[in-house]
């Protein structure tokens, strides 16, 4: 797959933004400026950027608890995102949702989700709605290997195929559901093979290879956009960080983590672009600097933003509002 310089820059910028954003979020958390918990996707950037890049601007995504990458790939405003991490009044959710619930329905991001598998049943409904509205929009619905074991997955796949909804399902198999190794019950190929049982195309792909993810998702998008019903793409990848802030990494070895770090999706894309002579080292440094600056701006914005007024606590539960 060939990409232009402009496109390559965009992909790389988004991957850097994800990485740097999460590194910053982690630092702010350590510094006590962000509370609660968060689920970092460092190491999985190619899966987010590669898959979302196969969409058109009017298409939609539904995300997960590990959704920062999806959100940024969908073009979120980093300032509003970071402000939400800080729980600020001008964050995406007015400080109500935090890291696990960022959404921007107007721009096509239908939201992250604190419930594993919580987005998949909604994807069916979104698909039904899009089909009835018939404006050519499609949905990309993310979920993890862990979510694939939930009943929600099975019911949703069954319904999706039955109604031939315009949904690309992207399963990010990062090898673990918290501490539970996915290979205890399946593999990326195994996950893809479920698709055939439901009656839709399914493909497993190297999730750390942005262009491979893009290509597989584009294929799925074409299938879906042509009215052939849903399709499944499984991205084989790995999270470098612990599951969340409470993780002590007891269930995996440093060697395993290191081996996957060798497969860093950002390094891989960089090297590939250098090899292809699409980007120079200089270009790349500029992009990285841009990402750093974007995140620093986001941080400054978040830190200088106001907290929500406690008097507004009970607002917004019901519409109208």
């Amino acid at each position: 797959m060939e990409v232009t310089k402009e496109i390559a820059e965009q992909y790389l910028l988004q991957m850097y933004q994800i990485r740097v954003f999460e590194e910053q979020a982690e630092k702010s958390y350590m510094a006590g400026k962000i509370h609660g918990t968060m689920h970092l996707s460092i190491g999985q950037e190619a899966s987010a950027v590669g898959s979302v890049s196969a969409l058109g601007p009017k298409d939609l995504i539904l995300s997960t608890h590990r959704g920062h990458g999806h959100c940024i790939a969908k073009g979120a405003d980093l300032k509003l995102m970071m402000a939400e991490f800080y729980g600020k009044a001008n964050g995406y959710c007015r400080g109500r949702g935090g890291s696990m619930h960022i959404a921007d329905v107007a721009s096509g991001n239908l939201g992250a989700n604190g419930v594993v598998g919580g987005g998949i049943p909604m994807a069916v409904g979104v698909g039904l709605g899009l089909k009835m509205q018939n404006e050519g929009k499609i949905l990309l619905s993310f979920f993890g290997d862990g979510a694939a074991s939930t009943g929600a997955f099975h019911e949703s796949m069954t319904l999706s195929v039955l109604y031939q909804v315009p949904v690309v399902y992207v399963c990010e198999n990062n090898q673990y559901a918290m501490s539970f190794p996915s290979n205890k019950w399946t593999t990326s190929e195994g996950l893809a093979s479920f698709a055939a049982c439901y009656g839709m195309p399914g493909k497993s792909v190297d999730g750390n290879d942005l262009l491979a993810v893009l290509e597989a998702t584009e294929e799925a998008v074409e299938h879906v956009r042509n009215g052939n019903g849903p399709a499944l793409v499984v991205c084989d990848t790995y999270r470098w960080r612990g599951h969340s802030k409470s993780d002590r990494n007891r269930y995996r070895s440093q060697e395993e983590i290191d081996a996957w770090k060798e497969k860093d999706p950002i390094e891989r894309f960089k090297n590939h672009m250098i090899e292809k002579k699409t980007l120079t080292i200089d270009d790349i440094e500029k992009i990285k600097a841009q990402a750093d600056a974007d995140i620093e701006n986001a941080r400054l914005f978040a830190e200088s933003s106001p907290d929500p007024d406690v008097s507004t606590l009970e607002e917004g539960v019901y519409a109208p509002w």
Binding site: G125, E155, V317
Partner: protein
């Protein structure tokens, strides 16, 4: 004279008229199409609206609730049917964690105008797994509205209003009421959510009843009237938001209150009603303890007699109301 139709027909008419008016409305659930729904509520609607808008599903309660939640999120107005309220236990994740919270959790950037309809209650001999009443589960969830109509007239007005409401609404029907008849205008009309209805005015004591217990309380009141006991009956109709004003006003007037519902007493909506009264200004007007008459502390049994005695019947209401009328603190 206004035309009379059944409660069941009122549900169907509300859905039909609203679907004719608004192309965003559709119905999704198990066997809602050709079969017409387990209780024939949607019978004939498939022929009228086709399978794209009368959507049959396999057995996937979580999927049905999710489909409605998701479709509403992108601007549709789905009506989801869960065949028996007992199976909302399978759908509640989507309803409670997702639909109810989307708007608040996303800082107001989302709206989820869906209705989840489901028949509740016992009395059909269908036993433990097809007879439960979980309304208080959903009353307990901010972000949801909970409607529980008791007459054909209220069904039509409240269901149309629920469909038009921009929030997720749990609309609870009662199987035993499906065949009851009453006057219902043919044209569309709405009844605001959150408005109770005084189904009978009276002076001596107030009964606050829900679901089929409104009808049983009315029958009980008629009989007690012959003994000179004059009962006021308040039907909240919407349990969340609750019209506390009407309830409190009635209790202030009569000084005595009996709460009647079918759901199991412990942990039920009657507790909420009792608490709302006991913490209100009506407290000072109370001339007797606040009494509850509700489902026994058992699953609904199969045997006809046992089933009958598991929930309040007219004679139980009479007895309890009479006891209350005679009580003095």
């Amino acid at each position: 004279m206004v035309r009379e139709i059944t409660y069941l027909e009122a549900v169907r008419e509300a859905m039909t008229q609203e679907m004719e008016r608004d192309p965003k409305v559709f119905l999704i659930g198990e066997d809602v199409g050709l079969y017409g729904g387990a209780f024939q509520v949607s019978y004939g609607m498939l022929e009228k609206f086709g399978p794209e808008r009368i959507v049959d599903t396999p057995i996937t309660e979580l999927g049905i609730a999710g489909a409605a939640t998701g479709a509403a999120l992108v601007g549709m107005r789905p009506i989801a049917e869960i065949m028996f309220m007992d199976f909302t236990t399978l759908a509640s994740e989507q309803l409670v964690n997702q639909a109810a919270k989307l708007r608040f959790m996303f800082g107001g950037r989302a709206t989820d105008p869906m209705v989840l309809r489901t028949p509740a209650g016992s009395g059909t001999g269908a036993a433990e797994h097809h007879s439960q009443s979980f309304e208080n589960w959903f009353v307990h969830v901010p972000g949801l509205k909970v409607v529980m109509p008791t007459t054909p007239y209220d069904v039509k007005g409240l269901l149309i209003e629920s469909i038009r409401d921009d929030n997720p609404v749990v609309f609870i029907e009662h199987k035993l009421l499906y065949k009851s008849k009453g006057p219902v205008p043919e044209e569309m009309y709405t009844i605001p959510l959150g408005k109770a209805d005084v189904k009978r005015a009276g002076r001596d004591l107030t009964i606050v009843a829900t679901g089929v217990m409104v009808q049983r309380s009315l029958a009980a009141a008629d009989q007690l009237a012959q003994e000179g006991i004059d009962i006021e009956i308040v039907d909240p109709r919407t349990l969340r938001p609750l019209d506390t004003e009407t309830i409190i006003a009635s209790v202030k007037k009569t000084g005595k209150v009996l709460i009647v519902h079918e759901a199991v007493k412990t942990g039920g909506f009657g507790g909420e009603l009792a608490a709302v009264i006991a913490e209100s200004e009506a407290f000072g007007y109370l001339e007797a303890p606040i009494l509850r008459l509700a489902g026994k502390e058992v699953p609904i049994p199969y045997n006809r007699n046992l089933e009958y005695h598991a929930v309040p019947q007219v004679e139980n209401i009479i007895e309890k109301a009479r006891e209350l009328a005679q009580l003095k603190v």
